[in-house]
């Protein structure tokens, strides 16, 4: 086990009550501090279960899990509280922290909203925001608590290609600026290759193969992009 690893899974398995087969089994991998890792794989391969274990939303049935306490997560479709404004949604996690003054909360929230280009929409309710804007607020909420690890659960799956491309750029900018460890789940190989340092391909509940991506950003315009996509795709459809 390396000291640089913020997350370590060793032979982890998870079986949901009442299920005959394990959702994941013998899953082993490590994520270094500041790394951007993306899990890809077909539906039901166990990538979301893995993410939930990192988030503490599920407990492993067996194996060893090392993860920091301060983990935050952005969900599909933003998962915002409809009765709260964008500002209050982002402040949601901060208000759970003891001893935080209102002025500190306001400063932290506005900073996150500004970073994601949402400061002008701070008083709007989720119903008054587009899908992309909701997702931005969801990411701002996850970042506001200054997590050691930011988890992204298919955050772009419901967005149009233009908004997705814009959010990809934003995520990369945020990652470069904050040096956060990011673990993302996606069902799109292109998305994983365009964003992550490392792509972990999962199949039938376990880690199938791991790919290091060493392309400069922005990657989609890079010649090696399609090569990396094809090399993962070959395994994906094997």
């Amino acid at each position: 086990m390396s000291e640089n690893n913020v997350i370590e899974f060793a032979h982890v398995a998870k079986r949901y009550p009442g299920e005959k087969t394990a959702a994941i089994h013998n899953v082993s991998f490590a994520v270094e501090e500041g790394e951007f890792v993306c899990f890809v794989g077909p539906s039901g391969c166990g990538k979301t279960t893995t993410l939930k274990i990192i988030a503490g939303l599920e407990q492993a049935t067996s194996g060893t899990v090392k993860k920091p306490k301060n983990v935050s997560m952005a969900f599909q479709l933003g998962a915002l509280f409809p009765w709260l404004t964008a500002f209050e949604n982002v402040a949601f996690g901060l208000r759970q922290k003891e001893g935080m003054h209102e002025s500190s909360i306001t400063r932290a929230v506005d900073q996150q909203l500004e970073m994601l280009g949402m400061l002008n929409f701070r008083d709007r309710y989720p119903s008054e925001l587009s899908g992309g804007q909701r997702q931005r607020v969801g990411i701002a909420r996850a970042l506001a608590v200054d997590p050691a690890v930011l988890l992204l659960d298919e955050p772009f799956s419901a967005l149009d290609p233009k908004t997705t491309a814009e959010l990809h750029d934003d995520i990369i900018k945020i990652w470069h600026r904050t040096h956060k460890t990011i673990v993302m789940v996606s069902h799109l190989i292109e998305e994983a290759v365009s964003l992550a340092d490392r792509v972990i391909l999962m199949r039938e509940g376990t880690v199938d193969s791991i790919y290091h991506i060493q392309l400069p950003y922005p990657r989609r315009e890079n010649e090696g992009f399609h090569h990396d996509v094809m090399r993962i795709r070959k395994e994906f459809f094997k």
């Binding site: 969900f75 479709l77 998962a79 509280f81 409809p82 949601f92």
Partner: protein, 260 residues
């Protein structure tokens, strides 16, 4: 934040003018063709009918508050996990199916021991309202997206904070819908709930509760058409005002709490 409810002129016109006029016209026609109902007996002043209606409203209000206070924990308990749901839902189904009026004589006998007949009426109204709210809340809890529950877990929400910042706001739309159904059920039952003497062996009308329900029954029994019409009219006006100034506004307000 309170949001103004955009009520159209047509809506107001229907609620305040056409609605009561239609009821009055129908009542007039019914009396005209029903020879057994002839004007007779002592009349009751309108002020008494209004005062009685206020007593009725107070009973309904107390029963409603009690129903909400009991329904929320029951709904939360039912949806706490699948075991609780399997255990409790069939029990609630059976309890809801038992006709409330079948329980009324027992309830009256119980409350008569404490010389608290108002309690009997309130309790029967409470039972009538309770299940509407419970089942609507259970339905509401089941449609909250799973990711929203995960958000509360990720940010470590628990205890009173979980209730106050998440569960209670999330239940607002269903609470409003359940409340409308519950109060309507209460109005349906009010006549029986206030006319207690029919359920007491050897009972007299002196044991009836002062309210618009008992006035309606007494007026019908004594062929006091004017009183009957007046009581119905006051009741329709109260229900219309409740609809326009409370339920419609709350329905509109609850939209903000609805998950897409």
């Amino acid at each position: 934040m309170w949001v103004g409810y955009p009520v159209s002129f047509a809506h107001r016109f229907y609620v305040f003018v056409l609605g009561p006029l239609t009821v009055l016209l129908l009542m007039y026609l019914a009396f005209s063709f029903y020879p057994l109902l002839r004007p007779a007996g002592q009349e009751v002043p309108l002020s008494t009918i209004i005062a009685a209606s206020l007593f009725t409203c107070a009973r309904l209000f107390i029963a409603y508050v009690l129903a909400v206070v009991v329904a929320i924990p029951l709904a939360l308990l039912t949806t706490y996990n699948s075991t609780m749901e399997t255990l409790l839902l069939p029990v609630f189904d059976i309890m809801e199916s038992v006709p409330i009026l079948a329980l009324f004589p027992v309830i009256i006998m119980l409350f008569i021991q404490f010389n608290f007949l108002n309690g009997a009426a309130i309790f029967i109204l409470f039972l009538a309202m309770l299940w509407n709210i419970v089942f609507t809340l259970v339905g509401g809890l089941k449609i909250i997206p799973k990711d929203i529950f995960y958000v509360t877990q990720v940010f470590g929400l628990h205890g009173w904070g979980y209730m106050q910042r998440f569960l209670l706001p999330a239940l607002v739309p269903q609470l409003v819908t359940g409340s409308i159904l519950a109060v309507a059920q209460g109005w349906n039952l009010i006549i029986v709930a206030e006319v207690l003497h029919t359920y007491i062996p050897g009972g007299t009308s002196a044991q009836d509760l002062f309210g618009v329900g008992s006035i309606l029954v007494a007026a019908a029994a004594n062929a006091q058409n004017g009183v009957f019409l007046g009581a119905v009219f006051v009741m329709v006006v109260i229900i219309a005002m409740l609809n326009l100034f409370v339920w419609q506004k709350l329905l509109h307000y609850a939209q903000r709490f609805r998950f897409d």
